[in-house]
Structures are given as structure tokens and as C-alpha cells.
């Protein structure tokens, strides 16, 4: 029996394009003091920066790809208007709430005083219905960022938009054309229903599992039926799925580019020979995208708003909440496809760069969906694709057996060895080491040998024949502002139980944990060990996260860092702004189910 590749999960049988994208609702734009001279979803940046903005938050009925949602929006569109600011300015943004529930806007990646960060409970009390809150802060930085609601599930329903901050000095990456490419998802399933479904069945949205029907193919790939079978048995023995790539999939999501469904084909114009800057923002709720423009080399010039030494690539993965600016120079008088497939390959966002409106570029086929390997399980010394049966044969791994006892696996000894190694490079330093995370209701496993994966482009992208960006290639164009070595290391394990759909750190969810306290002015190393099988884009509000990727003083400044499964990485933080800050996984349903901490700088 065969099924069409784009099964809609049976959840939505309507499948037609309304032709009325998010951008078609411009009539509902508020009349504000600042003229929105550009269509929000056109990707076109306002011609001039402004230091005064009015943003009206309200409900808007939006249909996209046949999926209708009464969505909370900024300015009546999804994404909301692109706000253009200028570095050095003090900007004022009046945010008026016309919803019947509280709202908020968080300026993702912007260094503001704590009370302007827009997180209800931490920064302020939120914006009550009918109220206007004026955000006011000085811009110390430039680059591409974004904003989104931090109230309830509003962000997951469409309350987000792009920020572009002009540098004070001439922009080294100024181009003939400059577009925002805002990647997102659209669904008519309410976020609370998604969470509830995941609580009942963690693979509710996964329709790409290994089955009897897929077995012959796996056997061919593994070399023999026996190898494929033993790999399957090893995974099912652990009560996990190698096909667990994304919690929410194209079964309900339509992936969007500047608010356009793939069929609507968002277009950006160029004249052959022109340099085109594309400001990629992943504003999605749960989806990592792998982005390429077949036929064009992309020069990555900025990551998370900060300029980096240009890296020529064919493809890059963008985690939820990250941004990358790339420059392309199409020479031919033809259309080029911007192709952003979801990591689990259940769909793609798509746009076109073309010399004229209405042109269509051929789309490449989707890559095969990634399959998790031992590396993702934290068994770092094994190569991707290596059969799990090898693990059982190794004496060291006997603890991995996860016998019938309810305690799950016990790898205490192994873990401690791994932990010790983490301190070798660092002399006398205060270390907050939580030790190996417990195996409990909230945590399913431990990464026994977490490895540095900053040199890997990510699962599904290794050895695909293309030049794919990895974290080690990010090198800042100028040395860091604070070159002091850290005086303290905070080790955190990212943990979770996929089966119960609980997420946390150190085996605890948010409500069972205390805050992370930093001394004002303190220089801290955060070390993340990912004990889960999934990527987690970890976002620290208010302070920069300087990724330790081997670039020394030129380490890149980021606001969101992907922790790959089974990996260990670290970044430095200067706690220079006092207040309460949110610190969380930016996969929204992970954040909301416990992978969240409060960081208090005092």
C-alpha cells in the first residue's frame, strides 16, 4: 500500500491555497504615527530607520494553505511589521493590547534593561487588555533580530516580526538589495491541543517512523536484514525512536517564508550581478530549517545579529530563534529557489529570487530524513550510522542495557569520568557541577560520552556533498568586549522524558528548580551537556552568549545556541546587566513544559 508523500496527517483534509496570504490583510493595519511603508510579509525593510513605533496587538483572522486561525498578531499581519532601528538611538515602541488577554513583546537578542525585556513575571507584569506599554531603550548593537510575544502561546500562533538595526558606522555588508527572510510555521491546531496530544502520544505528529514497509530499504542501507533488525531492536529496547527528529511536523504545519505558504511563492527581485542580502530569521515554534539556494553560493556574514568573517556555504541549518545574514550574487537572468526544508523533511518553506515577478525556479527534491545515531545518544565515540549492536558488544556499555528494572539505565561511573574531563582544561575555578542527572520521571537517559559537535553541521547534513555551515566556522570580525577568563563554570544537563513529554535541566523541570544566580559583573562559563536525543536552541535573555568554538578572542556573540543531541559545548557570559532574565530552550513546547530557568543577575 502506498501513500502520497505529503500526507496531511489526516488532521486537515482541506488542501487549497486561498491566495490570500497573511499579507493580504493589510487593510487591518493600524493607522499609526509611523507609516508602515512596506508590506510586512514582503520581506522589504522600511526605507528609513525610526526611533518611534506604534504596534497594535490584536486578533486577526488569517487563512493560509487552507488553515484558518484567529491569531494574535502585531499590526494585523503574520509576521508583524519589520521594525527598522538605528544603532545608538533610543527607541520608543508603544505596544497597544487590543486582545482580551494580557500580552507582551520580547525583543529577541536585544540588550535592554531587564524591565524592557518583555517577559511577564520577570521584566514586568505584562500588558493588560486595553493597555499601552511603552518600551524605551537605547540600542547598543546593530544587525538582524526579531521580536515575539512571551505571553502564553501567542508566539506559536503568529505574534512575531523582524527587527533590523542599522549600524552606526557604514555597514560592511551593505548590498544592492536587502530582504528579510522570516521562516515560520502555520497551523490551525491550537498550541494547547498540540501539547495535549504530545502528552498522550509523544510521536503523535511523526508519520515517518520505521515500519515493516520501510524495512527492506533499511536492510539495504545497513548491509543486511540482521543489522537493520538489531539496530531496530536496540532502539526499541531503549524505548526510543531513531526517527524522532521533530516533535511537531508537516503533518499539521505549513512552513512559511515571510508569511507565504510554499505554493504562494514569495519573490524577491534582483538585477543580475547585484548583491542581495538575505536576513534569515527562524521565528518558528518547533522547526529547524536547512536552507539553500540551489545554484548560488551563500556568503554568511552575520550570525545572531553580529558580523562574522564571511563563510561561503551551499547550505546552513538555522535553529529556532537564530538569525543568519547571507549575501548572494545571482549572475544569471533566471529564478533561484530559496529552499528551506524542515529538519525532519516533512515539508519546506520556499521562496524565489528572480529578475521579474511571477517567475518560478525548480525546487530540488527533499533530502532523506535524518535518523538518530549513537552520537545523539551521547555515545560520542561511535560514528554516525554505526550500528547500535556494536554498543551492546562493548563491555563498557553494559550499563546501557536499561534492563527491565524501572530505574532505567545506570551509567553512573561512566558519567563521572566524562565529567572529570570537563574540568581538565580549566584551572582553579568555581564549578557548579550538578553531577550526572538522575534517571527519573523527568529524565529518560544520560549522555555517557558527550562530545564536541560544534564542528558538525547537524544531523542529516553531514557528508551530504554540500558545504554546510557549522559552528566552528563562526568567527567574529572583532575581538570580544570582555577578554577576562571566566571565574566560574556552570554545568547544566539538558534533560527530558520524551515518553511523558517533560523537559528540563538536570532532571528537573522549571517549577522544581531554583534560579541561576550570577553576580553582577561576573564572567561565567556555561557548559551544556545534552542528554536528550534532540537539538535544543538555548536562549539567554539580556546577556550575550559567546560561543567557545575554538576562535579564541574572536568567538562569536550569539543569543541562541543550538545544543546538539549527545553533545557538550560551552559559552561565556558577562553578567553586566542586573535583573531577572529568562533562560530557556526556544522550542516553545519544551520551554513551556519545563526547559526554562530564571537567571538572576545581582
Amino acid at each position: 500500500m502506498t501513500f502520497p508523500s505529503r500526507i496531511r496527517g489526516g488532521l486537515t483534509r482541506r488542501r487549497f491555497v486561498t491566495g490570500l496570504g497573511a499579507g493580504g490583510l493589510l487593510a487591518s493595519l493600524p493607522r499609526t504615527s509611523h507609516a508602515f511603508s512596506s508590506k510586512a510579509s514582503s520581506g522589504i525593510i522600511p526605507p528609513m530607520p525610526s526611533d518611534r513605533w506604534d504596534l497594535k496587538i490584536g486578533h486577526t483572522r488569517i487563512s493560509l494553505d487552507g488553515k484558518t486561525m484567529h491569531a494574535p498578531t502585531a499590526g494585523g499581519t503574520v509576521p508583524g511589521p519589520i521594525l527598522r532601528w538605528k544603532q545608538g538611538d533610543t527607541v520608543s515602541i508603544n505596544v497597544t493590547n487590543t486582545l482580551n488577554e494580557p500580552t507582551s513583546i520580547h525583543w529577541h537578542g536585544i540588550r535592554t534593561p531587564s524591565n524592557m525585556d518583555g517577559v511577564p513575571g520577570l521584566s514586568f507584569g505584562g500588558i493588560a487588555p486595553g493597555e499601552t506599554f511603552t518600551y524605551r531603550f537605547k540600542l547598543h548593537q546593530s544587525g538582524t533580530y526579531w521580536y515575539h510575544s512571551h505571553s502564553g502561546m501567542q508566539e506559536a500562533m503568529g505574534l512575531y516580526g523582524a527587527l533590523v538595526i542599522d549600524p552606526r558606522r557604514p555597514d560592511p555588508n551593505a548590498c544592492d538589495r536587502d530582504y528579510v527572510i522570516f521562516l515560520g510555521e502555520w497551523t490551525d491546531v491550537m498550541p494547547d491541543d498540540i501539547v495535549s496530544n504530545l502528552k498522550m502520544q509523544d510521536d503523535y505528529y511523526v508519520f515517518r517512523q520505521r515500519t515493516a514497509a520501510s524495512f527492506p530499504k533499511e536492510a539495504r542501507e545497513a548491509g543486511s536484514a540482521g543489522a537493520a533488525l538489531s539496530d531496530r531492536l536496540a532502539w526499541s529496547k531503549m524505548r526510543m525512536a531513531a526517527t524522532d527528529i521533530a516533535d511537531v511536523s508537516g503533518a499539521i504545519y505549513t512552513y512559511t517564508l515571510n508569511g507565504h505558504a510554499p505554493d504562494m511563492n514569495w519573490s524577491g527581485l534582483f538585477r543580475p550581478g547585484e548583491k542581495v542580502r538575505l536576513r534569515f530569521i527562524n521565528g518558528s515554534t518547533m522547526t529547524f530549517f536547512d536552507v539553500r539556494i540551489p545554484g548560488l553560493e551563500m556568503l554568511v556574514v552575520q550570525a545572531d545579529g553580529n558580523d562574522i568573517e564571511p563563510v561561503p556555504v551551499d547550505e546552513f541549518r538555522i535553529g529556532v530563534a537564530e538569525t543568519y545574514d547571507v549575501i548572494v550574487q545571482p549572475k544569471d537572468e533566471r529564478a533561484y529557489a530559496i529552499f528551506a526544508q524542515s529538519e525532519d523533511r516533512t515539508g519546506y518553506a520556499r521562496g524565489t529570487l528572480a529578475p521579474r515577478e511571477g517567475m518560478i525556479a525548480p525546487l530540488p527534491p527533499m533530502d532523506p530524513r535524518p535518523v538518530r545515531t549513537m552520537v545523539d545518544m551521547g555515545m560520542g565515540n561511535m560514528k554516525p550510522g554505526e550500528s547500535m549492536k556494536d554498543m551492546d558488544m562493548s563491555g563498557d556499555m553494559s550499563g546501557m542495557k536499561m534492563d527491565g528494572d524501572m530505574a532505567g539505565m545506570d551509567m553512573h561511573g561512566m558519567d563521572m569520568k566524562g565529567m572529570d574531563m570537563s574540568h581538565m582544561a580549566m584551572p582553579k575555578m568555581e564549578v557548579d557541577d550538578p553531577g550526572p542527572p538522575p534517571i527519573n520521571v523527568e529524565n529518560q537517559m544520560r549522555a555517557m560520552m558527550p562530545i564536541d559537535r560544534t564542528g558538525s553541521p547537524g544531523d542529516g547534513l553531514e557528508n551530504n556533498g554540500r558545504r554546510v555551515l557549522n559552528y566552528k566556522q563562526l568567527r567574529a570580525t572583532r575581538p570580544g568586549a570582555d577578554l577576562r577568563p571566566p571565574t566560574r563554570e556552570i554545568i547544566l544537563h539538558l534533560t527530558g522524558n520524551m515518553e511523558r513529554y517533560i523537559w528540563g535541566m538536570n532532571g528537573r523541570k522549571f517549577s522544581e528548580s531554583g534560579p541561576i544566580r550570577l553576580k553582577l559583573g561576573e564572567r561565567v562559563r556555561f557548559t551544556l551537556i545534552n542528554d536528550t536525543m534532540m537539538e535544543h536552541p538555548i536562549h539567554l535573555h539580556g546577556l550575550w552568549s559567546e560561543l567557545e568554538n575554538g576562535q579564541g578572542d574572536y568567538r562569536p556573540y550569539k543569543h541562541t545556541i543550538i545544543s546538539q543531541p549527545g553533545s557538550k559545548l560551552s559559552y561565556l557570559v558577562t553578567a553586566d546587566t542586573p535583573g531577572m532574565w529568562a533562560y530557556h530552550c526556544h522550542l516553545m513546547y519544551h520551554m513551556d513544559l519545563g526547559m526554562f530557568r530564571t537567571v538572576i543577575v545581582a
Binding site: V119, F207, M406, G435, N440, S511, G514, T598, I600
Partner: protein
Amino acid sequence: MKHALSRAVLALATLSALVVSSGTARADQTVYHAADAPEATPVVYIGNIKPSMDQGTWLHGIFNELEGRYSPGGTDFRWDGEAWFGGDYNKIWLKSEGTLEKGRLSDGDHELLYTRSISPYWNLQGGVRMDLDDGPTRTWGAFGVQGLALYEFEFEATGYVSDRGRFAARVEGSYDFLLTNRLILQPQAEFNLYTKSDAGRQAGAGLSDVDAGLRLRYELWRKFAPYVAVTYSGYLTQARRIARDQHDDTGSVRFSLGVRSWF
């Protein structure tokens, strides 16, 4: 004697050496401390707004079986379902099953259980069971485990003690074989055991009855999956004799049609 003494001294020396070495080893080692360890006084959030809603409660219910079991003499109707409400650790759990046979309700087993999560995949359950159908009513205290065993095998085992001091047990398991991502073959079996026979309820001492099925479902969507099945319901050992004495069906294989559905 001397030999034994020297051995004891040696053992003591080894032990003290071990203690000393472990002491020094500890000095080099990190004292475990989590930066996010719980604090005695919780953080005061502005307006008491919690930034993460990880203490939610959910309500779900499922009919694992909702089926007609065909036979030329009359089709039986069978259900087996459960529902739960609660959070990550504490839930109220309701189980119910029964068979409608020629207008007569049998095998009516209904349980109300408190459920406590105790490990990544396992829950403890405790509460009451009522045998409530057209037979005599029985009441039991129930205590058991429920969860996901190795190889993703769904399993539950419950022990019961009745108001009359009798004991019983029920074991149930099932497994999902994915033929495709929507076509799923599920073998399932449930066994009941009793310490003493109860002729009124056609229960025999020892292994008393089995209800099993091989169900092939198609998930039209996750929450709605029609299935075809071969089911078997029958009495075993002593109960089989009781049934035979009562001129009842001792066991039969049926072709069945049903729907697996949940919310």
C-alpha cells in the same frame, strides 16, 4: 589462629588504605552542586506570573477496544477503555471493560485508581475495582504497575484483594507493530487469575480467563482508527469446567470489527 589474625590485619590495612585513597580522590573531585538547585524561598515573580507552565493538567480517554465480535449465534459487543486526569506525577485513572452478550453484560470490570509516576516509563496504581455487570457484584482493593516495558511493550499488572478476603490478579499487555505509519497490527492479551473459584462470576481458581485479540487498525487520524480483528475470549482450567457445567461457551475465536478512538 596466627594466620587468621594476620589476614585480619591485612584486611584492615587494605580497608584503611582504601578509605585514605578515596578521601584524597574526593578532594580532587567536584562537590556536586547544581546552579539551579531548588531554593528554600521561591523567587517572587512580578504579578505572580510564572514564565513556564510546566505544572499543567491534562484529560485524556481512550477506547482501546470498542468492537463487535461476530458469531452466527449472535454478535457480542465489547469495550475496553480508560481515562485519566492529572499532571506529570499524580493522576486519577479510570478503567472500564465489559462484554454485552445476548443482552447480558459480563466481565464488567471497572476501576478507579490513583496513579503515581515513579520512573521514566512506569506508574504505580492503587484504588478500587468493582465487578459490576449482570452477575453478582464484587468489590476489590487494587494495586498495580502500569507502563512501557522494554521494546516498547505496553504492560500492566494489578493485584486485587476482595471484601471477602480473596485475591486476584490481572495482567495485560499489548504491542504495536507498525506495518506502515498508519496501518498497525496489535496483538493484545489479558489474563485474570483468582485464588478461589467464584461460580457466580464464572471465575475459577488459578488462571481463570483470557481475552485476547490480534487487531489490525488503520489510523485515519491518530485519534480515530477503525480495525478488523480476530479475538479470542475463553475460560481456562477450573473456570473452563465451571462454564462447561453451566452449559456456557468455554471459549471461542471471533471475527471482530471495531474502532480505537481517543481524546
